[in-house]
Amino acid sequence: MMLSKGLKRKREEERETETLAGDAWWLDPSLPAAAQAPPATASSSLFDLSVLKLHHSLRQGEPDLRHLVLVVNTLRRIQASMAPAPTLPPVPSPPAAPCVADSLLASSDAALSASMASLLEDLSHIEGLSQAPQPLVDEGPPGRPVGGSPPSLGALDLLGPATGCLLDDELEGLFEDIDTSMYDSELWAPASEGLKPGPEDGPGKEEALELDEAELDYLLDVLVGTQALERPPGPGR
């Protein structure tokens, strides 16, 4: 029923002799829940577990939407507790002359959220809508200050250092067939309009691109190289 790679837990009925404390070791039942802060490693393994669940759910032909939404919301809670202030900026609308490094930093998170977003977006394709997936545009309205968390975070907008651990081979394998030209075009879209999703925006954005192919290829290489560099050692792995 449940896949939890690397997180082996015995089933309830096999653990008759173990005490309650052994099960939820960071939650002493004698203390009110609010008084306890789960240690970082517990949150982190819960985060990993949730990511695995999300992964598993998204792999289904037709994911159970309730399960998916609940797991995503739980992931956001866990992440919020692990990294209260995002250390990396959300993907803003790139200014007219973006700093390449900043954009690439942003895009390493954006790449993941882009992939997840496009997968979730695919769910809306079920209705036969012809919305082109808009991976990076939904991180917030354009021009939001970089420091804070925009209130209109997408459901799957995952920020913070922990996202690095999500970029393992398995997850990347899942996203292999995503057309990477989307990443390139999003980075260099103009700062004005055209960043809100909508079928009518697609063609408009493409027209706004001003880079030639060589620059796009270069950017792609750097992007892939930066993702490899960006991956911090996962906790407990």
């Binding site: 029923m1 449940m2 939890s4 997180l7 837990r9 089933r11 309830e12 009925e13 653990r15 008759e16 173990e18 309650l20 099960d23 939820a24 939650l27 039942p29 009110p32 829940a33 609010a34 949150s43 819960l46 577990l49 669940k53 032909g61 037709e62 159970d64 939407l65 309730r66 399960h67 939404v69 609940l70 995503v72 919301n73 739980t74 809670r77 866990i78 507790s81 977003a117 979730l120 977006e121 769910l123 809306s124 079920i126 209705e127 939904d138 209109s152 997408g154 459901a155 799957l156 907008d157 999703p197």
Partner: protein, 473 residues
């Protein structure tokens, strides 16, 4: 003429003289949940422990009179049981339920456009009130709702002029006299035929259907939308609720259940994965996106955890028969709401609070996502819901007492009174108690139903249907 006084239960006395008897005080429907002694009556289904996937029961529903009991399973089949007529004055127990009709309601389908298989599992069955000799019910899988007519045939015409009894046609030139065919009795045959198929209206998975009190329309709800149908019209439905965001990435909440008010044909409620219930009035606008009332209990800060939202997700919502209250089931509790008060429930009953400290494990094995249903008894005085280890719980709203019982083949002698069960949450386990760690989380009772008029309940374990009734005499 003499009369006899018999104490029927703690709350009731039977006064009998000759063949006549009255009960004092008179009870309508059920008495207190704990003053009833529940007895095993019947169990339906296979005995093996090895459960075939198709046999997993997915829904249970009594009809309006209680004479019929329908179950749906994962294999798309519907089985209807009928209560035997019994001699009420002399019987020692109420009539047994026997198989009345079995039919394949839904078949697995393949959606070629999306390359996806559509499960044939029956998510819900709802009976229509009986208008003539036939019975009608709605059954639904994830995508398609069907109206079934169940009718009896106990006579057949005999004596045709142009047909022999075996069906062969007679040569008209050999007919010399004419006769009028007559109906003659035959062995009872129960036929189920699909009368309407309501398809192609749901993109997401249907979780609820509910028949309106006008008996002409009904609603169907999926994760993001609710549609209104007319029972006679299959090619069209009206969308009355749509919570799909313009951008699917902004999706944070889904619809989990919906039901029409039992008396007001313009009113319905729907519950969400965030623990809210919205009451809508169809007279207000065509699209009921703005609720008339929003029922939500503020979160208890001392119980906050990563799993707060998941355990607040409502898995079932049911109006009381009176229409004054509604009941919701979330992972750990049952709440009764007064429709006139939105800010908190009037009653809360803990189903299995001992699981609160186990939420992480239950999240890991996905049990935390289990969707338990709940039901009212006929007089709205007792509510019932299921739990794990094949336990089910009843809460008496008047006496505030509760009881835990088990659906198990071990107690399967008819009229055996069920022994109350107790789970030991922590500390020293008393005799006959079960520790939390010994509970079998694969044995879950998600579906239960209560006879609309009598103390007869149907409780579904994974692949068996148990029928219990109160002890008579």
């Amino acid at each position: 003429m003499y009369f006899v006084l018999r104490r029927k239960s703690a709350l009731q006395v039977k006064i009998q003289w000759g063949p006549m008897c009255i009960y004092f005080p008179p009870t309508v429907g059920a008495g207190g949940g704990n003053d009833i002694q529940w007895c095993f009556s019947q169990v339906k289904g296979a005995v093996d422990d090895d459960v075939a996937e198709a046999d997993i029961i997915s829904t249970v529903e009594f009809n309006h009179s209680g004479e019929l009991l329908a179950t749906g399973d994962k294999g798309g089949r519907v089985v209807i049981f009928q209560q035997e007529q019994e001699n009420k004055i002399q019987s020692h127990s109420r009539g047994e339920y026997n198989v009345y009709s079995t039919f394949q309601s839904h078949e697995p389908e393949f959606d070629y456009l999306k390359s996806l298989e559509i499960e044939e599992k029956i998510n819900k069955i709802r009976w229509l009130p009986q208008k003539n000799a036939a019975q009608f019910l709605l059954s639904t899988n994830d995508k398609t709702i069907k109206l079934w007519k169940i009718s009896e045939r106990d006579k057949r015409p005999e004596g045709y002029n142009l047909k022999e009894e075996d069906g062969r046609y007679r040569d008209p030139t050999t007919v010399t006299t004419l006769r009028v065919p007559v109906f003659r009795p035959m062995d009872l045959m129960v036929e189920a035929s699909p009368r309407r198929i309501f398809a192609n209206a749901h993109t997401y998975h249907i979780n609820s259907i509910s028949i309106n009190s006008d008996y002409e329309t009904y609603l169907s709800a999926d994760d993001l939308r609710i549609n209104l149908w007319h029972l006679e019209i299959t090619d069209r439905s009206f969308n009355i609720v749509d919570i799909k965001p313009a951008n699917m990435e902004e999706l944070t909440e889904v619809i989990t259940a919906a039901e029409f008010h039992p008396n007001s044909c313009n009113t319905f409620v729907y519950s969400s994965s965030k623990g809210t219930i919205r009451l809508c009035d169809m007279r207000a606008s065509a699209l009921c996106d703005r609720h008339s009332k929003l029922f939500e209990e503020p979160e208890d800060p001392s119980n906050r955890s990563f799993f707060s939202e998941i355990i607040s997700s409502i898995s079932d919502v049911k109006f009381s028969h009176s229409g004054r209250y509604m009941m919701t089931r979330d992972y750990l509790s049952v709440k009764i709401w007064d429709l006139n008060m939105e800010n908190r429930p009037v009653e809360t009953y803990q189903v299995h609070e001992y699981l609160r400290s186990k939420l992480c494990s239950l999240y890991e094995n996905d049990c935390i996502f289990d969707k338990f249903e709940c039901c009212w008894n006929g007089s709205d005085s007792v509510v019932m819901t299921g739990s794990y280890n094949n336990f089910f719980r009843m809460f008496d709203r008047n006496t505030k007492r509760d009881i835990t019982l088990e659906a198990s083949r071990e107690n399967n002698k008819p009229r055996t009174v069920l022994k109350p069960r107790k789970v030991c949450a922590s500390g020293k386990r008393k005799k006959d108690e079960i520790s939390v760690d010994s509970l079998d989380f694969n044995k879950k009772i998600l579906h239960t139903a209560w006879h609309p008029k009598e103390n007869i309940i149907a409780v579904a374990t994974t692949n068996n249907l148990y029928i219990f009734q109160d002890k008579v005499n």
